[in-house]
């Protein structure tokens, strides 16, 4: 699912181990030939051969070890309701070790029925100073910890009767063979003056506060430089850096009936010179306020089944949820998964004018940054553009290093949030159409469909926030995404009417086949997607699409009423005069 990336701070630092997964777009430049190896890489390399020697002679023997150190430099400035909330600059190095025991065919990670995966250490923070001996000591300890966990897990795997039962995917190996990759890129760094941003987040959120509809607003600027180092016993040796800047705007409101109204906007950029200008940001603020105020007053929508037009951004999220998650390779081999598409390779699952690829190698699309880009995935495999659907026909799946019988290798999509075990995830999901029409024509087509079906109106979905997709076997094979901005488009030519309180429901296969048209302009959604391997940055790109029949249900809504008193700044009865 795509969700908003609002990092809630925890008070207890001990629980914050996994807080924040940040990865970004590649600065994928070749290194000058005489660059000395970074100390982290040297320490990892030194310890790797020693560890492999010891663990491969142990019982059970380790057959694969990898080390990943993520060196993250983060500046974050947050404002709320006109005041500065926090302003911090931080650097941390996080070590993750994978130690696999058994062999490529059957190892400690083997999934046992619907049992959750065995415990593995999320890793540990390691010194920022380039002291090779001390780094090695941390790596040594973490390797031992991880090896023990793997050795115990393998015993469980081997003793389990369930190993004897073939899964639907007919005994695919647990780990794929991949060629080693060596690439040592330049170190990246950010230098952020937080002061101007402190002023800006105050101004942005003060602007929100001018509207009595806005109960709470948060603006957060983040600048992140990640240098990721990775080595493994197959010979991979990587160092690469990524930089990402982001501004998030978030407002909360409550409709008179108690429904929570939330609006959100984000800006992402790679280079400080591409920082959005004040006009762009204030336009966005005013747009969010306008939508919030309109949503507060908008009537509740009724359950509906009929034609729907999704704008590009809305369609992008729709494809990410409905198609993208089901194209993740590991789901095809897990017998507890629904496996919607497992046996459909080579079959038509979409109209023949629709093609879909996932391409993390693209840093931008139409001049806009793509958040799901990376040079190497979190298993050290180079990113690859993967054609998933070609003219409506399913071609393959997104693969990490957990292979399928028919797809034995990774295509560079093994991804994770720091502290999680990588699995196949989306990067930049790009939907394109060979038949396109201008958006205005799609409106006409929507109205035509509405008339044809004898309905008073159709729905136009302008923005969709996260949803959640059930992919598990025990759950209904349905998806639910939350449209944030929905209009009724009337057959009789009345002006569009904003409504609220609907969720899209339905079954994925059906809705995908009911796409009848796509627009000539693709739009981008950049966000963070949460799944089994944590939260990872992703993009989804799609044209507007027209679906001949889509099902909408009433949204589950909160029941607490709006605040009893008006906002203090908008209270005409308030006896006190505001200070300052």
């Amino acid at each position: 699912m795509i969700k908003l990336n609002l990092t809630y701070r925890t008070l207890l630092t001990g629980t914050a181990l996994l807080a924040g997964a940040w990865a970004c777009v590649a600065a994928n430049r070749p290194a000058p030939p005489d660059t000395p190896a970074p100390a982290v890489l040297t320490a990892m390399q030194d310890e790797l051969s020693r560890s492999m020697e010891a663990t491969s002679a142990a019982d059970p023997p380790a057959y694969f070890i990898s080390y990943t150190v993520s060196d993250r430099q983060l500046a974050e400035v947050s404002g709320s309701n006109g005041a500065l909330l926090s302003s911090t600059a931080d650097r941390a190095r996080w070590l993750e070790v994978q130690s696999r025991v058994g062999g490529y065919q059957l190892d400690d990670t083997h999934k046992l029925g619907d049992r959750p995966p065995s415990w593995t250490s999320p890793g540990t923070n390691v010194p920022l100073d380039d002291d090779i001996a001390i780094l090695r000591r941390e790596i040594w300890r973490e390797t031992d910890r991880q090896y023990r966990a793997a050795a115990q897990a393998l015993i469980k795997v081997k003793t389990s009767e369930q190993v004897q039962v073939q899964t639907a995917e007919g005994g695919a190996p647990d780990f794929s063979h991949e060629p080693p990759h060596t690439s040592v890129g330049p170190h990246v760094e950010i230098s952020v003056d937080r002061k101007p941003w402190e002023e800006r987040v105050r101004r942005y959120t003060a602007e929100f506060s001018k509207s009595p509809s806005v109960l709470n607003s948060i603006a957060t600027f983040t600048a992140l430089a990640t240098n990721q180092y990775q080595v493994n016993t197959e010979g991979t040796k990587l160092a690469f850096g990524q930089i990402h800047y982001r501004l998030e705007l978030f407002v909360q409101s409550k409709a008179p009936d108690g429904m929570d109204i939330e609006r959100y906007a984000n800006f992402d950029w790679l280079d400080p010179k591409d920082t959005p200008d004040e006009k762009t940001i204030f336009d966005s603020i005013h747009q969010l306020v306008k939508e919030t105020e309109a949503l507060d007053k908008a009537p509740l929508a009724n359950p509906y089944a009929g034609p729907a037009l999704l704008t590009g951004r809305a369609a992008a999220v729709f494809f990410h949820e409905v198609f993208g998650h089901r194209a993740e390779g590991f789901r095809q081999k897990d017998i507890s998964e629904g496996q919607t598409f497992t046996s459909k390779v080579g079959e038509r699952i979409l109209p023949d004018f629709i093609s879909i690829k996932d391409d993390p190698t693209e840093a931008s699309f139409g001049g806009q940054m793509l958040l799901g880009s990376y040079p190497f995935d979190d298993e050290g495999v180079p990113s690859v553009s993967v054609p998933l659907v070609d003219h409506g026909v399913l071609k393959t799946f997104l693969m990490g290093r957990s292979p399928l019988v028919d797809v034995p290798h990774s295509n560079g999509h093994g991804r994770r949030q720091l502290g999680f075990v990588p699995i196949a995830r989306q990067g930049n999901l790009i939907v394109s159409s060979t038949q396109t029409v201008p958006f205005s024509e799609m409106r006409q087509k929507l109205i035509a469909l509405v008339k044809q079906q004898g309905m008073p109106y159709g729905l136009l979905i302008d923005d969709i926030s996260g949803g959640f997709t059930f992919t598990g076997r025990g759950q209904p094979q349905a998806f639910q995404v939350t449209p944030l901005v929905v209009y009724r488009v009337f057959a009789d030519g009345r002006p569009d009417q904003l409504v609220r309180g609907v969720d899209i429901v339905g079954t994925p296969l059906v809705s995908l086949t009911k796409i009848v048209a796509a627009s000539d302009k693709q739009e981008i959604f950049n966000g963070y997607c949460g799944a089994e391997s944590g939260s990872v940055p992703v993009s989804a790109v799609a044209p507007a699409i027209l679906i001949s029949e889509m099902e909408f249900a009433k949204k589950e809504t909160s029941t607490d009423r709006p605040p009893v008193l008006p906002p203090p700044a908008h209270d005409s009865e308030a006896k006190v005069v505001q200070q300052q």
Partner: protein, 614 residues
């Protein structure tokens, strides 16, 4: 306002249901009106708190439900500098400024209100009554945040009251004791103290101090952390209390671990606390202390196992102080354990020894007749050492008071917050909390004294005599108790401790760190490792054979996490989030102490030896 992920169990403590109302000796006071902001005060925070509370007090009401009778706004400004190093290398360094807000609104009245009740079906607001708010100390944003939090707190109170009343109707005997005691309003606006990190380079000091650990290549891991904390707290109530006060604390906490050759996991820790950063020992002094702790740990590695043992045990003063903190703390509170619709919270508290054995026993003998036990937050120092448990006003806005808990062995009084208990109704200024958690009655500076204290030599003689008369060849002396919250190099190690051994805490399992066999024949000592004290409860303290005349002050942080405050585990906290406290205790000689040696499965040794240090 940013919603908080934690602060979940804050609405905790509940009231006694079936006890007779104790006679209060203080006249009941009527709630005063909200106090005005002191004239000339320019602090916009105070103005915003006042104005928003005034508006809510006069106008906040839902149709058909009662208006609130009590409003309380709390704010906490935290400036924290924290630096961690390991083996001379910097691991992390950060400086943060945050402001937290917590709003309490109660409906009902002092006798029966919406507090002190735990249910699963609480109010699910969209923002909640706590949060992280702006740090500009401005007027407008704070009013906005307080407005929302007050609204949410009011709705939560109304919901909670309805649930509570329906639960009470299901009881055969309704509670007779009040939910909330009256207290004299207090206006006390102290000057803000701004952080002064001093000109010392804390990153360099952490590196320099921890570098000494490189001399101990057998150490697996270590973390040496510096925490410098400045906190300013605000409290305003609709009863007329207005308080602004600043506190500060500086600490070095260090953990180090290794394994013995048979695989037993071993660790040690070091901690030092001072009121101000400038008071912390310099890097050389910290290095010396770390080296000493590591030397002890290396000695433990090669020491024999503690045998199973029953007999007299001599607790040196630092070990006695730590043991008293663990054994006494759960029973010092005069508040009854919480009332809960769900059994979970009761079970949780039971498991971690959160029941007061002294509740309801005022006037009876609970300790040897020579012993006096006092908790005195007004005491600033002892033996020239500042007492970090001191405060002027407690976390419910009540003036700090010295409380004589036990006099000549007789239980006189318990520590009280504004939650009445079976023995007393009124607060004696001991409500304490960290990070705006719900305040509990907790100790501050706990002092144990005896009229028949023995000089160290006499103490030792008595120890060896009682060994001899019991027919032992040797007996055990404990020089230091463990503090797993500090000695865990990784957070997970402490969680593991709580998960595994934590459950034995209620039965009196305590973990010593440095245990010595002392031979009766010639008095020589031999270090041993791995024992656990079993069944060391309050009752064991009646078997005190002798008390020394060598009181030592132990400074420690009470754990304020979730329900751990006010339990035996509460003695295990850290400077990051704990409540500064001290125990002054002399050495203690206890009879009939049971020690269980190590019978578990030792961990496997690392597959490979540690990499070279150079």
């Amino acid at each position: 306002m940013r919603k908080l992920a934690t602060l979940a169990l804050l609405t905790a403590f509940a009231m006694p249901l079936t006890v007779a109302r104790a006679a209060g000796n203080r006249a009941a006071m009527l709630p005063a009106a909200q106090a005005p902001v002191p004239a000339g005060e320019t602090d916009q925070t105070l103005h915003a708190m006042h104005d928003e509370m005034d508006r809510s007090r006069t106008r906040l009401a839902l149709a058909g439900v009662g208006k609130p009778f009590y409003f309380e706004y709390r704010l906490l400004d935290l400036d924290v500098r924290s630096v961690t190093a390991s083996f001379g290398a910097l691991v992390s360094s950060s400086t943060s400024r945050t402001r937290f807000m917590s709003v309490d609104v109660r409906v009902g009245d002092y006798h029966l209100d919406s507090s002190n009740f735990i249910s699963e079906d609480g109010f699910q607001g969209f923002l909640g009554s706590t949060g992280e708010v702006g740090i500009d100390r401005d007027y407008n944003s704070l009013r906005q945040d307080l407005w929302l939090a007050t609204d949410q707190a009011y709705k939560a109170a109304v919901t909670q009251m309805a649930l509570k009343q329906s639960f009470l109707r299901s009881l055969t005997k309704p509670p007779e004791i009040d939910d909330f005691s009256q207290a004299q309003p207090l206006v006390k606006v102290d000057p803000r103290i701004d952080p002064d990190w001093t000109s010392r380079n804390w990153e360099e000091e952490a590196r320099e101090a921890s570098a000494v650990l490189k001399n101990f290549p057998q150490l697996y891991g270590n973390r040496v952390s510096y925490y410098l904390v400045y906190a300013t707290s605000y409290r305003m109530t609709s009863e007329g209390t207005t308080i602004r006060s600043s506190r500060h604390l500086a600490a070095v906490e260090a953990a180090m671990d290794t394994q013995a050759e048979d695989g037993m996991s071993l660790h040690n820790y070091y901690s030092v606390y001072t009121p101000l950063p400038a008071g912390l020992p310099d890097a050389a002094a910290v290095a010396k202390a770390l080296a000493s702790a590591s030397t002890d740990l290396m000695a433990l590695r090669s020491s024999p196992l503690v045998p199973d043992y029953t007999g007299p045990v001599l607790f040196d003063a630092p070990a006695a102080a730590s043991t008293l903190a663990q054994v006494l703390e759960p029973s010092l509170s005069g508040a009854r354990p919480p009332l809960s619709m769900t059994r979970d919270f009761d079970a949780f508290l039971e498991r971690f020894g959160g029941r007061s054995e002294w509740s309801g026993r005022v006037g009876t003998r609970v300790l040897p007749a020579s012993v006096t036990l006092v908790d005195d937050p007004t005491l600033q120092e002892s033996q020239g050492q500042p007492l970090l448990g001191s405060y002027d006003v407690d976390d419910e806005g009540v003036n700090a008071q010295k409380v004589t808990l036990v006099e000549n062995g007789i239980l006189k009084e318990l520590l009280m917050s504004r939650r009445p208990g079976p023995d007393s109704i009124y607060s004696n200024g001991h409500a304490r909390s960290a990070l705006l958690a719900d305040p509990h009655p907790l100790s501050s500076n706990l002092i144990l004294q005896a009229t028949d204290a023995l000089k160290p030599d006499d103490m030792r003689k008595k120890f060896l005599d009682s060994c001899r008369s019991d027919g032992h060849e040797w007996c055990l002396e404990i020089k230091r108790m463990d503090n797993p919250a500090l000695s865990a190099v990784r957070q997970e190690d402490f969680s593991e401790f709580v998960g595994e051994l934590g459950g034995g805490i209620s039965n009196g399992d305590r973990v010593p760190l440095l245990v010595y066999r002392v031979y009766v024949a010639d008095g020589h000592e031999e270090l041993a490792r791995g024992g656990i004290l079993e069944g060391l409860t309050l009752r064991s303290l009646r078997n005190i054979l002798a008390i020394g005349s060598d009181p030592t002050v132990l400074t420690y942080m009470q754990n304020s996490q979730d329900g751990l405050a006010g339990t035996a585990l509460g003695a295990f906290g850290s400077a990051q989030d704990g409540i500064p406290s001290t125990v002054a205790a002399p050495s203690l000689l206890l009879d009939d102490v049971e020690i269980r040696g190590f019978h578990g499965e030792p961990s496997r040794l690392p597959l490979d030896s540690a990499p070279p240090m150079k």
